[in-house]
Amino acid sequence: MASATAVVDEHVDDHGHDDHGHAETNTGISNNKLAMWLFLSSDCLLFGALISSFLLYRTNISDGTEFEGPGDVFDIPFTSLSSFILLMSSLTMVLSLSAVNRDDQRAGRIWMLCTAGLGMLFIGGQVFEFTEFAGKGLGYTTNTWTSAFYTLTGFHGVHVSVGILLLLGTVFGTRNSGLGKEKSETVELVGLYWHFVDIVWVIIFTVIYLIPIG
């Protein structure tokens, strides 16, 4: 029995994982991964608050301007393209993790940089959209609809920006140490955050942009 334990101990690397990616914890899941899921779970409450606030104020546009509602300003083809870009960034992210798991460092880095690039495109689109809205006289305090809209989509944009920084930090922070299989958990955690940002946009795109008020 003692020898079997010793063999298992040897099987576990310095990071507390065995060769199969399982951590030496009570749950078999690394503390970092559990913490990330706990964070994402709590982030549901943040976005829940912002989305429900928007839903409450979605009809409150009485501001004395010529603005007649979201249909006036939303550019659905453009936002659809942004949504598609973010959706595809989830694919490049998961391909990056897959490459890192295969110990293919070059592909892992390329896919991760692609993910960051697509994220930047999305943010660029959001900046363009906000600029267009501002050009039509819709500021943050124009009415409660605009306040709720900018707060919700702005918070999401901040999340995407943080994700881009995490991706670039992972790519450039591992230039010396390498982005091999031993870093797969780091890439997985960044990926989980990125996919979460994507699924939040899936909800925002449908609830805010596509569902008609009438």
Binding site: M1, V8, H11, H20, D43, M93, H195, L210
Partner: protein, 139 residues
């Protein structure tokens, strides 16, 4: 079988459950198709495919929400690996999700929010605004 062999066998089964790159591309294509269907429904509602094909608003809302939920779970299950990871992770995530939906459903109900209302009307929670402003003036 030794303890170590048993350990390896159990975890090997788990690791081999992850989709291949080809499967990930297939899943992304499925997500893109679902998004295209969502946009087509939106265009149909605006009369883009002719007046005869304009769906009722309620069916559009139900359809779009159903597609949104499907996309949400596909990304969660396959890209976030919830389908393949330990069940404690999806339980943890589901706890936050259910709590958020429950709390804000109650909040929206308290403000008499209706998902089905028409037009741009003042929200119901400002019904007492006149009395409130009168009370402020009186004080």
């Amino acid at each position: 079988m030794t303890a170590t062999e048993n350990h390896v066998d159990t975890h090997d089964d788990h690791d081999h459950g992850h989709p291949s790159d080809r499967s990930y591309v297939g899943i992304a294509i499925a997500l893109a198709i679902l998004t295209a269907v969502e946009i087509a429904m939106f265009v149909a509602e605006k009369g883009g495919f002719g007046d005869a094909l304009v769906p009722p608003a309620w069916s559009l809302k139900i359809g779009l929400i159903a597609l949104m939920i499907v996309k949400f779970f596909i990304v969660g299950a396959y890209f976030m690996h919830l389908k393949f990871d330990d069940s404690i992770l999806w339980k943890l995530f589901a706890a936050g999700l259910v709590l958020a939906v429950g709390v804000y459903w109650i909040m929206l109900s308290a403000f008499e929010f209706s998902f089905w209302n028409d037009g741009y009307e003042d929200p119901g929670f400002w019904d007492g605004q006149v009395e409130f402003e009168q009370m402020v003036e009186d004080s």
